[in-house]
Symmetry: C2
Subunit: 345 residues, 2 copies
């Protein structure tokens, strides 16, 4: 029986590129686009913001859970969030894709569509890339951003008295991953079913969103520190705390609506795992779930007294680091999962 | 027995980064370096040149042939060459590294040293990166360059009558790879010995050089088209031919010194493979050997009549594409190997 599915081994590099390029966003804002030794992009204010991230099959995603579209969307979004977290707007990106030779061509075109659907609304274009064979899918994206004259918002500028604010969702991605894992463990074929009303949680894991416009808005609104929440609220808040030499005291009351939003997923997890402890997962997802790609920022108190920039809401306060920089919850050390180290399996 | 070799699994990401960063070049020319969500680098003339390349273990290198130092050096150099081929100078790079958990820590620090030794003389600094676990080593480098006010030299500007010129070596990397392959096939353990007088060819494969300064010099000298010779002289000349709508007629006489330089490797190959045909390999290496990362450029004839920029020598002429764009050798279609498609195994 012949395999009816076109695979990447059936095409050479130029044929694959000819399928991919028409799907990707390009723009007039680029002096030289893909196809030469290098691209030339404009850097309006004489600086360029740069970030890079790599996604590895089996570490950051599973191909039986994530489609090519999902992986493309996620690869773009987590990079776009890094640029937003500096207070900048993403202008362009380059993408390297390593592919097993039996990868369906549809996976690759889906990847390009997912990348485009995340990048286009942000105004980001794809100016180059590289393709290679390999035993597992690896995606490396480098993004470039424009500060449009703003000072970059670093992690190191938080001061005691500042308001701690967050834009975006907390814990939804971790809830989705937990549901996928639980369902896969009980499914005969290891592939998760689509848990109807819980689909939004799964989608939050597979295709996270990020409040990208809130990044430049925070910079314009006087943010003193900011980062992308990729490894969990407490862990990432700890990065601001250490870089700034302060402590961050989160308010559980301000997070209660985030916890409440995850209760349906927590209940479903408790049923799926036949373990009542699952119902308590919502609290942990909010504090330590990664990959939601919201923005955590600090603002001078007088900014918060007027109005935080659109998308942000207060979730705590910056306090003096009397016992060394740390993250507190209502004044005490919170009990949270140790967090996620991509580097370890 | 315990394993005395420190492996990357013995460290967490921050511990590994603490080992790597001190080895990498950094500079005052960077507004925000590694450690925040993104770096901020200066783009002096309001534009930035961008290129990216990925190297995959088992496709682009073998860990029993290439040390970490070799892979770092090569990953940097092939990217630096892409920037030079636009007529620009590399200013900064970001690096993603995927590592099996049993990779020796020494491999990683060697990688950082090789990257630094290639980048530092070029004035390029490392401003960020990402680490991940994975089943094979994958290196993705993105480089940024400064045109310093120059127009970028594209592949599409060659005109009939232009002189075709090359800077760098031709075929040495392919010769080195052939020798490594032949020796590995005859060695009991599959690992190649160090073939004494042939070591320069092997080094040219493991740690290619590139005449980086010749890129901006070519742009200043009026080059009409330019690219980095990464896939072989004939194949890459074909890219200029097609992009420019011209044909390129190479002169075998001008390449004879390149062929002569490879004869010792060709003779050694003939002996190692017990095949007299090996002695004819030198010609093929010059025309179709990849990964030497020389620069192929075209210049108006009046430039060549004065003086080509330092490092370049004439190897042919641009002619009208009467029968469609093609690459000729002394006026005829050359017989060459089909060239190297990284994408296919």
């Amino acid at each position: 029986m012949t395999d009816p599915t076109p695979r990447v081994r059936d095409l050479d590099e130029s044929e694959l590129l000819a399928l991919i390029f028409p799907l990707l966003p390009t723009s007039e804002g680029v002096d030289v686009g893909p196809g030469d030794d290098a691209a030339v992009v404009r850097a309006g204010d004489g600086r360029v913001v740069v970030s890079t991230d790599v996604l590895v099959e089996g570490r950051h995603f599973r191909r039986d859970w994530s489609t090519g579209y999902d992986v493309g969307h996620r690869a773009a979004m987590q990079n776009l969030a890094d640029i937003a977290a500096m207070g900048a707007r993403t202008t362009s990106m380059v993408v390297s894709l390593v592919m097993p030779e039996d990868l369906p061509v549809d996976w690759v075109t889906g990847f390009a569509r997912g990348l485009a659907d995340a990048a286009t609304p942000a105004g980001a274009v794809v100016v180059g890339g590289d393709l290679s064979g390999g035993d597992a899918v690896v995606v490396a994206v480098t993004v470039h951003g424009d500060l449009q004259g703003r000072a970059p918002v670093l992690r190191s500028g938080a001061r005691p008295g500042d308001v701690v604010a967050h834009a975006g969702v907390l814990g939804a991605s971790a809830a989705g991953l937990a549901l996928l894992t639980a369902h896969a463990a009980t499914a005969a074929d290891g592939a998760p079913g689509a848990p109807g009303p819980l689909a939004p949680f799964v989608a939050a894991y597979l295709r996270p969103g990020s409040p990208l416009a809130a990044g430049p808005a925070a910079a314009d609104g006087g943010a003193t520190a900011m980062l992308d929440v990729s490894d969990g609220l407490v862990r990432d808040a700890g990065r601001i705390a250490r870089a700034s030499g302060v402590s961050i005291d989160l308010s559980s009351g301000s997070l209660s609506r985030d916890v409440a939003a995850l209760v349906p997923a927590a209940v479903e997890l408790a049923i799926a795992t036949d373990d009542a402890a699952g119902a308590h997962a919502a609290h942990d997802w909010v504090l330590s779930g990664g990959e939601d790609h919201g923005l955590l920022a600090t603002f001078p108190a007088q900014v918060a007294d007027r109005d935080l920039p659109p998308g942000f809401r207060e979730i705590g306060r910056v306090v003096a680091a009397d016992d060394g920089p740390q993250v507190l919850l209502d004044g005490d050390r919170p009990e949270v999962s140790p967090g996620w180290d991509h580097f370890r399996s």
